[in-house]
Point group: C2
Amino acid sequence: MFERVAIIGLGLLGSSIGLAIRENLTGVITSGYDADPAVRERARELGLASSIAETAVEAVRGADLVILCVPVGAMADAARDMAPGLPAHTIVSDVGSSKVSVAKALADALPRHSVIPAHPVAGTEQSGPDAGFAALFRHRWCIVTPPQDTPRGKLESLVAFWEALGSRVEVMDAAHHDMVLAVTSHIPHLIAYTIVGTASDLEEVTRGEVIKYSAGGFRDFTRIAASDPVMWRDVFLNNRDAVLSMLDRFQGDLERMRQAIDAGDGDAMHDLFSRTRKIRRRIVEQGQDDARPDFGRGGSAD
Amino acid sequence: MFERVAIIGLGLLGSSIGLAIRENLTGVITSGYDADPAVRERARELGLASSIAETAVEAVRGADLVILCVPVGAMADAARDMAPGLPAHTIVSDVGSSKVSVAKALADALPRHSVIPAHPVAGTEQSGPDAGFAALFRHRWCIVTPPQDTPRGKLESLVAFWEALGSRVEVMDAAHHDMVLAVTSHIPHLIAYTIVGTASDLEEVTRGEVIKYSAGGFRDFTRIAASDPVMWRDVFLNNRDAVLSMLDRFQGDLERMRQAIDAGDGDAMHDLFSRTRKIRRRIVEQGQDDARPDFGRGGSAD
């Protein structure tokens, strides 16, 4: 498959890829780079890659696969930065949450290379090199969005790579990816950020009260709303059209629920609240979430 | 404190109270009742109370404390049902998520009894007698909203009872409770139900895709949106004004974020996304949530 993999950007995703390769792909040599010297230093301490380079050019030298793990708005600069060291045969991929804009940015920056964008649908609210763990991708889907002219062999290598890290892989059109992720990830994050902001700005309810009584549901939103701000700013700047289109639907549906509450229309509420349970059941059945009550939170707080 | 406690309604909350008394208050005799014969049968099998009665009147006979654990819209009927068996000295309390309307309904139904409404801010998305567990209330807040004429000794007994089950107790005005819970619990549930509904009605994205890629954030909303439909319908019917007032703020804030995305205003997004992290940190510090990445979900799916 690949003998040398370079990881550019050593936050949650980059560090997890380094650790997952070490655990699952013995013999593969990894090199890592991060624009932040403190992160490079920490990455060396944590052993996130076989070597941590001082420049992007140095990191990608000799690599068969380069994975860009930087915010989607930083992809083009990261690609240009490393370009002078990039071998001609190297596959360039990424882990960004929006794919149309990344595909374009990388193709523009690296016109002579095989760029195959990808998106492992996995993450936690934590960020930085200490947040990574080797099992992050296990049982999670990785969506690969190859441009039409992608050589079949290169695509197969990238798919095999993600499968080796424990992922299930789906190949998809980039524009469709952006629509799917707008609803399954981007809008949920936007909503979570917004309600946490709303709650912290109230006059009638103090911030201390919001925190104290967060176990009633609010705390789940704060988890998502603790995700990396730069990463998420870039997602919304780069997947604007799909996000706005999905947001339209949500705002319309929310307004209808508002009217149902205002009118005391219990049937409309009960109807919606009953339908949504089935989706939950299928998510648990398909191994995408854990059915334990409260995820064992009760126990862990002891 | 109390020698005999009656629990009316044996779903998640009622069954957890029964189990928590057995674990924490040795010697206290409990009796349970549920309007559903199948639930009573299951409650006997599970040993949720010292005895399970066939009628509410029988269940409350001789009780010092009765706790109504039924949806808030069913409180008045449940109170009237048991009234003929209720001793004069008995304290009547509940676990409902809205307090102004419940206080009024119970006071109207039981004009000669001490009614002290309460709300343990704890729960999971699961419901029914099998969902209960003794640790549900541990490290969680229980808000007690006594009417002004509540005898001090009775209030102290109820506070001591919840503390014995592991809760921390806060005494609060019922109207303020309803405002606090609107933002920390009711609006988050409404939003979660709505986005799960939106996602399941799309034409561009299939329901199968929504489920497959739910690990990007959406699955957290489905957990909340799997909560009991009748319970939540009743909450929105009974806490309408506070919910609508908080929903106004949220809708306004969301519209502003929409405009920021439309305008490509990265600074407005970054500003909000940075502020919300601090709240998360305080929730974890105060033991109201678990900081483990992904709550160990990665591991549990193995």
